[in-house]
């Protein structure tokens, strides 16, 4: 059932993808997932279904490994598995790859997991960096699933900042975090990591929740999604990158403007939408503005949106149908117009929040045939409703009367002569 739904989803999401940018790409690489498991000393605590956190994690791993979809390349990394001592420096480097990212040998992977025993520190930041390295920087979609029961004990390297920097590399990596019986600080840190990469956070209190959630996340990784093309908008329109129809990502800092350019022929319609992700703690009120501007600086149309409160993204879009040329030279190809797109945002953040790297923005550009223009408000200028009927009947009746009187009058005149 789950795989069926997955296949359906996969088929649908493939079908939904914009073709423009995807068409030029080589054959899809199979998705990669790395499970990062905390094996720190605190995993001994027996508070998940009466078993230790470690036992719950192992059981969940076994179930997940059995259910990994064929196409997923899976790896496992541990943190805090080897160094039991008190030396903080050594403890904070304690992360290693338990099973390399690649086609999965289930027995081998399970054996490797079975050897784990709760041991050391919780170096989440270094583990995330290691996991990002393991996954490489090819075009595949990547997902890190971080399972931990405590906050990072290795300051000053803030794992949340690490996550944001990994995401900013533009390697299409999402980090999902799972907290085992988390306390307030752990929760805060894990939500921050998830938020920074567009991932999800789950708190786990039961073994079955853990295995179901990890399975769901691995399945999600298997859904083929078009990977957006990274681009970098300019500060002015005349320096802006030329975009073809497709899906793009970029980064934009607070209050920054980014410009892009799209070529549009007469009789075509430009459709653009933009989403700005709030990937960190931002102030409560925010907005986004997308403007289509001519090369000479005249604003053609804009899309804007504002919001408040908790959100993942804020999006807006615009349409610009460029009118067809009526009387151009017959066979000469009409010149394309460069339309400038300006993306700006009104996010703000408390002073404690870092503003670099900028927030991820996703830009879709489609060019379609222009609409057939309306010559009237109503469809084909047709009428509708009782007033219309009444008016028509009245006019028809009056016309009949006049016609009748006229013809009577004519007959009478004719008779008398």
């Amino acid at each position: 059932m789950a795989t069926g739904a997955c296949a359906l989803l996969a088929a649908l999401s493939v079908a939904l993808l914009p073709t423009g940018a995807a068409a030029d790409e080589p054959a899809k690489e199979s998705p990669k997932v790395e499970l990062v498991l905390d094996v720190s000393g605190s995993m001994r605590a027996k508070d998940i279904d009466g078993k230790s956190r470690m036992a719950a994690a192992k059981q969940a791993f076994n179930e997940v490994l059995d259910a990994v979809p064929e196409e997923v390349r899976l790896g496992i990394r541990t943190l805090g598995a080897d160094y039991p001592g008190q030396d903080r420096k050594r403890g904070c480097k304690d992360t290693r790859q338990l099973y390399p990212v690649g086609p999965l040998d289930r027995t081998e992977a399970k054996t490797a997991v079975a050897t784990l025993a709760p041991t050391g520190w919780t170096p989440i930041g270094p583990a995330l960096l290691g996991a990002a390295d393991d996954l490489g920087d090819d075009g595949a979609t990547k997902r890190i699933v971080l399972i931990t029961d405590g906050e990072d004990t290795c300051a000053p390297l803030d794992p949340c900042q690490v996550a944001r920097e990994i995401a900013a590399k533009g390697i299409h990596l999402v980090i999902d975090t799972l907290g085992l019986v988390p306390d307030a600080k752990t929760r805060q840190q894990l939500t921050c990591i998830a938020e920074a990469t567009g991932g999800t956070y789950t708190s786990i209190h039961r073994t079955e929740d853990l295995s179901r959630r990890v399975r769901q996340l691995v399945d999600r990784a298997a859904d083929p999604v078009v990977t957006p093309v990274a681009t970098e908008g300019a500060v002015r329109c005349d320096k802006a990158p030329q975009l073809k129809p497709g899906l793009y990502t970029d980064r934009e800092s607070f209050g920054e403007h980014r410009w892009y350019r799209v070529d549009l022929l007469p009789g075509q319609e430009l459709r653009a939408s933009v989403s700005v992700s709030a990937d960190r703690a931002v102030n409560d009120d925010y907005g986004v503005l997308l403007r289509a501007v001519t090369l000479h600086g005249r604003e053609i149309v804009r899309g804007s949106e504002a919001g408040d409160g908790r959100t993942d993204v804020i999006s807006t879009g615009l349409r610009y149908p460029k009118p067809d040329l009526d009387d151009g030279p017959g066979d000469a190809k009409p010149a394309a117009e460069s339309v400038c797109l300006q993306v700006s945002n009104s996010f703000s953040a408390p002073p404690s929040v870092k503003t670099t790297p900028g927030m991820p923005i996703e830009l879709t550009v489609d060019v379609v045939d222009g609409p057939s223009t309306a010559s009237d408000v109503a469809s084909f200028g047709l009428g509708r409703g009782w007033w219309l009927l009444g008016a028509l009947v009245l006019v028809g009746f009056l016309a009949g009367l006049v016609w009748g009187w006229l013809s009577r009058w004519r007959v009478a005149v004719w008779r008398t002569h």
């Binding site: 993808l17 319609e269 653009a272 996703e362 489609d366 609409p371 009947v393």
Partner: protein, 277 residues
């Protein structure tokens, strides 16, 4: 006397004509669009987490998902000209024993250009008290029009995204499991909203020019517009019950014209004319 009879006949004929046009003309009555898929297939059991990964379902289907509070869940459904979609979502909340306070849940609907669409009616956002087991959310969109000018954000035929999330809750309640069920009913609003003009392609992300779409089809690729279409394809948009109203009006006018004409003729010859000339 004769006059009265003529008028009565005309009125009756008119009524009969209207009776024929009735079912279509009086489409304001809320009759859900017939949807063969209703019941025949259920929707997806997973939801997407971004616009790009939104899970697709058709009006009449029920999509379900299991997720953790704090997740943003995305679905996408098609809506065509003349329809007024109603999105309904039911959230089964996490165990009340695990929760620490009230939570505010919210659905937002975006069109194919990711522009937020307002809800005419319905509780788009609701705060569930700590003990509540479920939250019901609803959003009635505006009727979809065939076209709008570029500066308006009137709903247009195309894809519609639904985002479900919790917008306010005690922080310790984040990450707990909940299930969501979502469905869309469409009401056909008939010709009242039939506007002139039409889009070159429905508002579907990834839509291309006709030339490009043709090339894609020849290459055996399914176009984005096709893939996002409702079950029986996108409507061409030229039909509306305005044709019936206008035609009925024309016929009634003709009948009334005949009536008026006959009225002036009276019975037999005009009295001034001598009986035999």
């Amino acid at each position: 006397m004769r006059t009265v009879r003529m008028l009565a006949t005309a009125a009756l004929t008119g009524a009969a004509l209207l009776g024929l046009a009735g079912p279509a003309a009086l489409a304001d009555s809320p009759s859900a669009t017939p949807d063969p898929s209703a019941g025949s297939g259920s929707g997806p059991t997973e939801a997407g987490t971004t616009f790009r990964t939104a899970a697709r379902f058709l009006p009449g289907q029920q999509a379900t998902a299991q997720a953790a509070t704090g997740d943003y869940l995305y679905w996408v459904f098609p809506a065509d000209t003349g329809q007024r979609p109603t999105v309904r979502a039911t959230v089964t909340l996490p165990d009340a024993a695990l929760r620490h306070g009230p939570a505010t849940w919210r659905i937002d609907v975006y069109d194919g250009l990711r522009r937020r669409q307002p809800c005419m009616y319905g509780m788009q956002s609701r705060t569930a008290p700590k003990e509540a087991a479920t939250v019901e959310l609803a959003c009635v969109l505006r009727p979809v029009r065939a076209s709008a000018d570029a500066w308006a954000n009137d709903p247009l035929p195309g894809s519609y995204y639904v985002r479900l999330t919790v917008t306010g809750l005690p922080e310790e309640d984040l990450g707990q499991p909940f299930t969501a069920r979502i469905g869309v009913d469409t009401v056909d609003k008939g010709g009242a909203y039939a506007t002139d003009g039409s889009l070159g392609a429905p508002l579907v992300p990834g839509a291309t020019t006709a030339d490009q779409a043709e090339a894609d089809e020849e290459a055996g690729r399914r176009t984005a517009v096709e893939a996002a279409a409702p079950e029986d394809g996108w409507s061409s948009g030229w039909w509306s019950d305005r044709w019936l109203w206008t035609a009925a009006g024309g016929i009634l006018a003709a009948l009334a014209g005949i009536g008026g004409y006959v009225l002036t003729r009276g019975t037999g010859r005009p009295p001034r004319v001598p009986p035999a000339v």
